[in-house]
């Protein structure tokens, strides 16, 4: 882990990964959307509405996954003070917030025809909304302080506090009576979904995951370069001041 904390080494590795992850994202997205919208069958109960699942479920998974990465990076930043960990947390927050937003909106669009309600305050929906607020709070807190490192520290603590919400979201459908149905894929009895629908779902999920990797690399890279430019500008100012004083 310490080996990858060096920003320059990270930039080199990232340059190797990025074209691949971007290409895989586009390929999987095209294949996944084609299978999901064209090839896969309608559901025996929900009919064509079930196709919203192929966006909704991967987005919801990514909302949880990105937050777990954000919390992990925050813990590393707090404990080992790795320079890249804070940047990774900062770069992940907007991506995760977008995935959460997509999960919430597609869920509402799916809920209207199937449940006959855009929104209900059941444990699953409410806990995901709270996740969205944690992402928002993290983004606000990161930039709330004059001194960037204080903001990062506060945001990292917030991210760890919010991590409690992740298992609550996952098991909310089992712990409480909810309108949202229980898990179909990640459960002890194996998937409760037909193979013809599982395949496009997993392909879409994989494309969302590689999308996260690609955008994370892009955001991290620009953040590192921005900080390098700041450092350069600072030394230049200092040099010119020294030149004047001489």
């Amino acid at each position: 882990m310490h080996r990858f904390a060096n920003p320059n080494r990270f930039l080199r590795i990232a340059a190797l990964i990025l074209p691949w992850s971007a290409a895989i994202t586009v390929t999987l997205l095209v294949v996944g959307l084609y299978l999901a919208l064209k090839v896969s069958p309608a559901d025996y109960q929900q009919g064509e509405s079930v196709r919203i699942m192929y966006v909704h479920v991967p987005a919801a998974w990514m909302a949880l996954f990105v937050y777990s990465c954000l919390a992990g990076a925050s813990a590393i930043a707090l404990i080992w003070k790795h320079p890249l960990a804070n940047l990774a947390a900062k770069a992940s927050a907007p991506i995760g917030a977008c995935f959460t937003f997509i999960a919430l909106t597609t869920g509402a669009i799916w809920g209207k025809p199937i449940w006959d309600a855009w929104w209900v305050w059941d444990a699953r929906l409410t806990s995901v909304l709270i996740l969205f607020f944690f992402y928002m709070g993290h983004m606000a807190l990161t930039s709330a302080f004059e001194d960037a490192s204080r903001g990062e520290r506060a945001a990292a603590i917030l991210a760890l506090v919010g991590f409690i919400n992740i298992p609550v979201i996952k098991w909310s459908v089992d712990w409480w009576n909810t309108l949202h149905q229980p898990a179909s894929i990640v459960r002890l009895d194996g998937p409760a979904i037909h193979a013809s629908m599982l395949a496009p779902l997993l392909i879409m999920a994989a494309s969302f995951a590689t999308y996260y990797v690609s955008v994370l690399i892009l955001r991290l890279r620009s953040e590192i370069l921005a900080r390098k430019m700041d450092a350069l500008r600072l030394t230049r100012v200092r040099d010119s001041q020294e030149a004047h004083s001489l």
Partner: protein, 180 residues
Amino acid sequence: MNVSAQEDAPPPPERASPKKPMTRKRRRLYLVLAGMVLLGAAAALVFSALRDNLVFFYGPSELLDRKVEPGHRLRIGGLVVENSVERNVGDGSVAFRVTDLSNEVLVTFRGLLPDLFREGQGVVAEGILDRNGVFQASEVLAKHDENYMPPEVADALKKSGQWKSQGRGREENESREVGR
């Protein structure tokens, strides 16, 4: 940034001499771990205390167990009993029974039912329990289960007779949860 990276490179002597006092990193690690454990315990306590308040709906058995006062707004959920749906053409109301496979509640509703509303299907209804023990719903939502399959597969399962055993097993599990 580079400077701090070098600063925080793992100091090799740390592992060589375990008797040395706790390093700052070790202390921060324990602090974060202890914080997470405390937070988790606090969250578990809060959620177990709020357990009843976080329930979105009650099953028919719970409704009877709790002896809910008539007139309170609440939600009930369960499966629509087969052949129990009666539509009254006169005033456009509909009556049906909701079961958790051990108890049943009669529900009346006037309005548009969701498309997925069917006998044998899960529903969640919001409304009030009147004095006669009839639940007067003002809103009915359809609840679907976690199974996804193409219609042909559902038909094939029904034809081969596996559908009922599979479905009933699941329903029984569900009812146990509702009744809990």
